[in-house]
Assembly symmetry: C2
Homo-oligomer: 212 residues x 2
DNA sequence: TTGCAGCCTGACCGTATGGTCAGCTTTCAG
DNA sequence: CTGAAAGCTGACCATACGGTCAGGCTGCAA
């Protein structure tokens, strides 16, 4: 070999297989839902024997839990964009960019997340009551301050956040509908940019954002 | 009996049982997804023997199809609000009202619809390619005219529609998340009104609506 | 009143699924 | 080199599910 890769250590094997399984699982859970997904389908997609999945993830629930937690991490990372911002135009623009990027790059993850929440968040309830609530409260506070400083109109911060989540996530969760209405073709680069610009423009104008 | 109800005719029995089953099915499909729903669960909720469900609906797929079609009807009815309007403020306000009412009164239906679309619309594909596409194209045309007439800013009509769908439907599909962030309590009448007003205000301001 | 068409259901069936396990191979520390 | 730990898997199992059906019950037209 040109590239004398260090022989695969046990740890590497484990990490690699877990990754493979999680990727396959995310796709199958997104396409079929938790109930419709089967370990066999995931195993086939991962090109591993079913028993091997059970070696790494004892139960279907545990595998699902791992998938959902992964997505939650990604979701939270997008949050950082919000923090460094000096004002609503910067902050909300960056957040919309980040969330639209997630919708585009991780549509399966978004769907699993949506599905989880729609079915009452059996797995994520703890996270929602702790991490998510704290994150949300923090952002609400930031928005409230922006309003006090006259950087935007007095819009209810919570409902504004819901609108941001909804508008961006929609492009992942309802991607199939959008694709169908787009003549059966996925959105092009240009169309994604238009979507993003539209959301930014309508929301930033809508809240009367007046400061970076 | 004080009320001398006409003795239940066969037709009535059929209609009533079908209704009972459909209501139960909608709830179970919403809570568990198609794959997670079982005929037994639906039968228990409808308080009927499982075999009786199969008497009215031959297969689980057929029952699911009926549920989804019902929802599609309701969804389309909300569309009418759009048509009679003279301008964006009237039309979009009425549409948001209608869709928020659906999110509030038929959250289960909304979830089933969302789930169906998320999983690639196996049942609804035909409807999406015909009825939904026509409806959408019609509304796009109306919005385009409003823009030409200077009644609102030149916003991409499709992305505006997606935003309307997303913002309103979010309150049904992600109702559990919203409830959790609301201290575990469902939104009150006042909070629903605030949600509605916020969406209206942000979007109508955001598109620069200038005419009823 | 009668006959029959439509309504109802307990018991049953084949299959697919999540999960187990005994025993194999591979890795690697000592 | 060795042996123990980790990785792997074909074959298997119990269960739960969608669906069937024979046969009983009910409404109602004639």
């Amino acid at each position: 070999m040109a590239e004398p890769t260090r022989p695969t250590r046990r740890q590497d094997i484990r990490r690699e297989n877990e990754k493979t399984i999680l990727v396959a699982a995310e796709k199958v859970f997104a396409e079929a839902g938790f109930g419709g997904a089967t370990m066999q389908l995931i195993a086939d997609l991962a090109d591993l024997p079913k028993a091997n999945l059970h070696y790494y993830f004892a139960t279907k629930e545990e595998l699902y839990r791992s998938v959902v937690q992964n997505i939650f991490e990604i979701w939270l990372q997008a949050a950082n964009c919000f923090d460094a911002a000096r004002g609503p135009i910067d902050g909300i623009s960056a957040y919309i960019d980040a969330k639209m990027e997630i919708s585009r790059r991780h549509p399966d993850g978004s769907k699993v997340w949506a599905s989880e929440v729609m079915h009452g968040a059996p797995v994520l309830q703890d996270y929602m009551e702790s991490t998510l609530r704290e994150w949300t409260d923090g952002r609400v506070e930031i928005i409230r301050r922006w309003i006090e400083e006259g950087k935007m109109d007095p819009v209810d911060p919570r409902h504004l956040l819901y609108m941001l989540w909804a508008a961006t996530q929609h492009y992942a969760d309802f991607g199939h509908q959008i694709e169908t209405l787009n003549g059966g073709k996925p959105l092009s680069d240009r169309q994604w940019r238009e979507a993003k610009d539209n959301i930014k423009r309508v929301i930033l104008t809508g809240i009367g954002a007046r400061s970076v």
